[in-house]
């Protein structure tokens, strides 16, 4: 039962790691996602029904786990903010850390939009590919992408960051920090 999974790990683990790092920006959490994805397949191999390529299934599972972690991270940040010492009185404008902003935005989105946002902006899939990934029509993907764009614009406006220029994909795929090890 597990031989094919060991082989799948050998041939596909890097896909999970790379995408999890892109979405989360944190190497240790990406490794956790790698373990969780493949352990879930060991526990419930029937999840992957072989109606699609394994890469397609792994994309979906990885996206789901990463979005959960982003939401958990947002909750943790709130907890930490409650216990962090209050800042000094002088006002220092926050840097426009696009990668951090993009992840905050993803964590704020409803699940269906966040998944589409990852596929569209991180993986840069076509509408057809997203439709196959999500299991809906291309037209519906178009509607979802429009909702993602509106959500992002409104979210950025609420953050008071109307001048963010750097691309989301670039900010995620080119993390400017090294992993803590």
């Amino acid at each position: 039962m597990t031989n094919w999974l060991a082989e799948a790990y050998r041939t596909h683990a890097h896909q999970v790691v790379r995408r999890a790092r892109q979405i989360l920006g944190e190497a240790a959490e990406a490794d956790e996602v790698l373990q969780e994805v493949f352990l879930s397949l060991v526990d419930e191999p029937e999840q992957f029904q072989r109606r699609s390529a394994l890469s397609t299934w792994l994309y979906s599972a990885t996206t789901h786990l990463c979005l959960n972690k982003l939401r958990n991270r947002r909750n943790r940040l709130r907890i930490l903010e409650e216990q962090v010492a209050p800042g000094r009185t002088e006002s220092v404008r926050a840097r426009a850390d696009d990668w951090a902003l993009a992840r905050q935005l993803l964590a704020s989105m409803p699940e269906d939009l966040a998944r589409v946002a990852v596929y569209y902006y991180v993986d840069e899939m076509t509408h057809q590919e997203i439709a196959e990934q999500v299991g809906c029509s291309r037209r519906h993907v178009g509607n979802l992408v429009e909702r993602v764009i509106r959500f992002g614009q409104e979210w950025a406006g609420r953050q008071g960051e109307p001048d963010i220029e750097s691309p989301f994909a670039a900010s995620l795929s080119q993390p400017r920090m090294e992993a803590v090890r």
Binding site: Y9, H14, L54, L80, P167, F168, A170, S173, M177, V180
Partner: protein
């Protein structure tokens, strides 16, 4: 403007297609291969994919996965305990405040076993509060005077922690424990993202600063660690401990 943007051209390959191409899942790869040969953007993304694939293939399979693939039963962890951040305010070279943790840590996967060899699988996460925003941060982070640092620790086992610092002027400070007269590492509960019992407001000294986040199974004395950092400018992990250096670039 939303921080969401795309960079691909109309003819470019998605990451999914690139991954499927490498995995041999594309029945007729000729068209994609042709594009790949002529598009610098896609070639660059493919190179990044290959780089990660090479890196991951060189790593051993995580222990929990190796056991699972071999059909062996997995070790189940006990339920996670609430965070037990100690709570008294104090100050060191910089301002350090302590507060009790307001809530238990968020739920976590029972499958997390920690795959790192040293320090029993513990690892640290740094959070930086800048102005009104708090962000998760990694080594190499650009920070500013007045930013507040907070670390959390994830470990399947309880232990003892400390955070030492050496700033751009070579000054060594103890950020955790926060008490000025602390003599040893402080206890930390097992759990995921358990906040350390002190946060730190950065002072005005600019330049490279390195934090040394230390997790040990035993309550070691602080003085030898501080002395080693002062003498050598760096710190080695004591036997059985996990040490994570986190470099910060403090700019105005």
């Amino acid at each position: 403007m939303s921080p969401l943007r795309r960079s691909r051209g109309a003819e470019c390959l998605s990451d999914l297609l690139l991954d499927r191409l490498v995995a041999g899942e594309i029945a007729d790869p000729a068209e994609a291969q042709t594009h790949l040969a002529s598009c610098p953007r896609c070639a660059e993304r493919k190179a990044e994919l290959d780089r990660v694939r090479a890196e991951v293939s060189e790593r051993p399979v995580p222990r929990a996965l190796a056991r699972a693939f071999a059909g062996k039963p997995r070790r189940r962890l006990r339920p996670w305990q609430p965070a037990l951040a100690a709570g008294l305010a104090a100050a060191a070279a910089t301002v350090i405040l302590l507060r009790p943790a307001p809530a238990p840590p968020p739920p976590r996967s029972p499958e997390y076993t920690g795959t790192r060899a040293k320090g029993g699988g513990a690892h640290f996460q740094l959070y930086v509060r800048h102005g009104d925003t708090t962000r998760a941060a990694l080594s190499g982070e650009v920070v500013a005077p007045g930013d507040t640092l907070q670390l959390s620790c994830s470990s399947p086992e309880p232990g003892f922690v400390a955070v030492l610092s050496r700033d751009g002027a070579g000054t060594v400070s103890v950020y955790v424990p926060g008490e000025p007269d602390a003599r040893a590492l402080v206890p930390i509960a097992a759990g995921h993202d358990v906040p350390l019992p002190a946060s730190t407001v950065l002072d005005a000294t600019l330049g490279q600063e390195t934090l040394y986040a230390l997790f040990c199974p035993e309550r070691l004395a602080l003085a030898p660690l501080v002395d080693e950092l002062r003498r050598t400018g760096t710190l080695d992990a004591p036997t059985g401990c996990r040490l994570e250096p986190i470099r910060l670039d403090k700019r105005p």
